[in-house]
Every structure is written in C-alpha cells, then in structure tokens.
C-alpha cells in the first residue's frame, strides 16, 4: 500500500509539472498555435520511426530527447540500413547507397537528390514507397516485453527444479495464472487429451497480450506504445489462431463446416457459405476486438489529459487526474480481460475444430 501511494504521488507530481509547463506554454503561444488533441492522440497511438522520450522548453529553446530507431528499407532488391537521424532535420531527406528517401508523416517515399515530391489533387504524395521493415517503436516495445517475459518465465520455470515444493516469489504470483489458463481455458475448451498440444501457444499468446497491454499503459519511456492496439499485431495473432484452428481441424469439423449434415438441401445452400464465411469472421473478430479495446483505452486516457489543454485552465486538472486514474485502473482490468478473451476464444475455436465425435 505504501509503495502504491509513493507511485501515486510520483505520478501525480509528474502530471502536475507537465500541466504547469504546458499551462505557461499555452498562455504564451495562445495566438500562434492552437492545441490539437487529435494530432497528439493519433501521433501517440500510431507507430513511429523515432522513440520520443521527453520534451521541455518552449519556442526556440524547446528540447527533445528522442531515440532515432534503425530504418531498414528494401528498394528494388537493395537493402538500406541507416538510423532515423540520417533524415535531414529540415528537408527530411536521407541518402543511402545512392538512393534518396523522403520522410513525411511516418511514411518513407522514394525521391531524388533535391527531394522532389509529387502530389495528387488531394495533396497526397504519389511518389513510390520502398518496403519499410524498419525497427519502429512498436517493435522495440515488443522486444522489451519479450525480454521481460523470457526472463520472468524461465526464472519461474527454474523454481520448479528439485521436485514438488511450496511456490515462492514470482512463482507464486504466476503459478495460479498459468494454472488458470491451463485448466480453466485450455483443458476446459480443448480437453485434457488434446489440450497439452496447444497449451504452449495459448499460454504464450495470453501472456504476450497481457504483458504488452500493461507495457502500453506505462505512461513514460519505455512504455506507452500502442502495440496491442496496432492492427498488424492483432492480425498476426488472429492469423496464427486461424491457421492452428484449421490445420488441426478434424474430419468431423470439416464435414460439419462444408456439408452441414442433417439439414435439408435448401438450408444447406444457405448454411455452407455462412459456415465458410464464419471461418474467417472468427479470427477477424479476434483481430478487431483486441485492436479496438486497447486503442480506445489509450484514446480515452489521452483525451482526459488533453482536456486540460483544450480548456486551457489548470483548475480542471484534478478532474482530469481523477478520471485518468479511474481509466488507468479500468485499463489494467481490460489489459488482463482482453488477453483472457483472446485466449479463451482461440481455445474455443481450436477446441471446436479438433473435436472428434460426430455432431
């Protein structure tokens, strides 16, 4: 409890100082630029080629601490490796192996030495884009969570060496969760016989989503990335579930899906396409559910903080902080809940697919 209070005090003091700084900021530059919460929020929840740590100062004295991340591009079969800092501060052009790249709003375009870009009528750049395999912020955030997970779970596994004993330390924290996932999700949905085959994937996906959700809620470096709210990530996870489900589908599952036994022919004509569409809507729902929940949480928290800058008064900050705190607590629940739901539904789909007996 004491620790919790300490953290609370530190966090609120950070908030307050941030509020104070921005309060003066908004007063002095009121006429120059209006605060745009949409841009701030979108910038936060999207991926980035640079990891912004902290900024301070104003006007010409404004200082940023940013970590330039490695850029990896494939253009016409040639690999290009360089850091984000290669992009010129003013012109946003970088040169690598004789090719020129132009950086604009999180995207990298091919260009020439002078940085010529062509726009269409909607003011969108129509220059060709190289394949961008850069190690962006989300990748590093994921790697941090992976390192933490490997460290945590291998040390938990080590505690089991030397025969059955009373759990202690991290072991006693994670054992009930591992057992919950293993017994109440995997064994319950897939069965004791076939469950163990899928347990490693489902356990990994549960903790992967949970750890990354929590890391995304940490409001300072190296947390705060909207990793599990990124469609690329949820798509990969949903696709893995999709492939595991359908590769391990039993005969009766495919028979049930493709021929809908036991229903009249005219119903079959309707039912079979629906079943086939259902194969794809299940992982699609998994993908959208996780993405939407996590992104929504980030947007709400950022909106509540932005309230102070929108209303341009420091007096709203207690309300903002209180609501933000409530949202943080709720998001901690959602972080675990979404991991649970994703794992439960994956286990449910796999369980339905591997079931052997006839319906």
């Amino acid at each position: 409890m004491k620790k919790f209070l300490c953290v609370l005090v530190v966090l609120s003091s950070i908030f307050c100082s941030a509020i104070y700084a921005s309060d003066t900021h908004s007063k002095t530059e009121e006429n120059e630029e209006a605060f745009d919460p949409t841009e701030l929020i979108m910038h936060h929840i999207s991926d980035s080629h640079v990891w912004h740590v902290v900024s301070w100062g104003e006007g010409e004295n404004e200082k940023h601490i940013e970590i330039p991340l490695p850029i990896i591009l494939i253009n016409d079969g040639t690999f290009h490796f360089f850091l984000y800092s290669e992009f010129d501060h003013d012109t946003h052009i970088a040169e690598s192996k004789g090719s020129y790249f132009f950086y604009h709003h999180g995207k990298i375009y091919n260009t020439d030495k002078h940085g010529n870009v062509e726009y269409d009528s909607d003011h969108h750049i129509i220059n060709s884009k190289p394949l961008d395999f850069s190690l962006k912020r989300n990748v590093w955030s994921m790697w941090i969570s992976i390192v933490i997970m490997i460290w945590v779970f291998t040390s938990v596994a080590k505690a089991y060496k030397g025969g059955p004993a009373k759990p202690k330390g991290a072991q006693s924290l994670f054992e009930p969760i591992i057992q919950f996932v293993n017994e109440d999700i995997i064994t319950e949905q897939i069965g004791a016989e076939k469950g163990p085959k899928f347990a490693p994937y489902l356990l990994t996906v549960f903790f992967f989503i949970w750890f990354n959700n929590i890391l995304g809620l940490v409001p300072f470096f190296p947390g705060g990335s909207n990793f599990t709210g990124n469609i690329s990530v949820t798509m990969v996870l949903a696709l893995i579930t999709f492939f595991i489900t359908n590769i391990n589908g039993s005969k009766s599952y495919w028979k049930h899906t493709l021929t809908a036994p036991g229903v009249p022919f005219f119903v079959k004509v309707l039912l079979v396409p629906v079943e086939i569409i259902g194969l794809f809507t299940k992982p699609f729902a998994l993908m959208i559910r996780l993405l939407a929940n996590i992104t929504a949480g980030h947007i709400i928290i950022l909106s509540l903080v932005s309230l102070i800058f929108i209303l341009k008064t420091i007096y709203i900050s207690p309300v903002s902080i209180l609501l933000t705190l409530v949202m943080f607590v709720l998001e901690l629940l959602v972080a675990a809940l979404q991991a649970y739901i994703f794992t439960l539904l994956s286990a449910l789909f796999i369980g339905m697919a591997v079931e052997d007996h006839e319906h």
Partner: protein, 165 residues
Amino acid sequence: MDFLLTPDPGLVFWTTISFAILAFILKKFAWGPILHALNLRNETIEQSLKAAERAKVEVEQLAITRQEMMDDAKNERDDLLKETRELKDKILAEARSGANSEADKIIESARKQIEAEKSAAIKELKKQVAELSVDIASLLIETELKDDNKQKAIIDKYLDNVNFN
C-alpha cells in the same frame, strides 16, 4: 485515420518472427518444465492424499484391534480374579472346617484325659480315705475304748463325714 486499419508489412514481419521465437523459447524453457512440474505436483498431492486416506483407515483398524485386545484382556483378568476369589473362599472354607475338626479332636482327647485324670484322682482319694479311716480307727482304738456307746458314736460321726464323693 487510415493507418489504424492498414496493416504495416514491417511490423507484421517483425511481430510474426518475434512471436514465433518467443513461443518456441517459452515452450522449451518455461511452459514445458512448468506444466510438467505442475502435473508432477498434482500427481504427488493426489497420491499423498490417497496414502493419507489409507493410513487413516489403517489407524482406525488398529484402534479397533487394540480395543478388542483390551476388551479380551479385561475379560480374562475379570475371569482370573473371579476364579481366584472362588479359590480363596474354598481354601478358607476348607481350612475352617479342618481347624474345627482338629479342635474337636483336641477337645475330645482333653476331655478323655480329664476323665482319666478324674477317675485316677478318685481312686487315689479312695485309697487315702481308706488309709485315713484306718488311721482314725487306730487313733480311736488307742484313746477312747472306755465307753462303747461313745465309741460307736464317734465312729458313726467320722463315717458320716467321710463321704465318698
């Protein structure tokens, strides 16, 4: 806003690779050992509980056996005590009757002896009486032979005094 719903090939690529490696490492170094240990512990607990149940039944059985043995011993002791008491009573009774007959015998023999002593004493007395009579007679003869009547009276008087009993 379109970035929200447009997958980024780079992130898809890195996520896929990283997740696959993570799943592999955790399967080999975490989930495998942990789930194995948990199963092992579950089995151990189950076996221990069963063993405890068996031991409990055994203990109960032992308690019953002990109770039975104790009951047997108690019964045996009671029997022994009863027998002993009877034996004691018997011995006492025998001893008492033996003593009585012995006492009777002794009393009888004592009475016989007394009887014998008595008759012997009477004999002795008669003898002494005769001697005394003779002595008295001789005395009378020596001293008072003058008056016949007187003599007769004296003799009668002494004879009356000498009662044979």
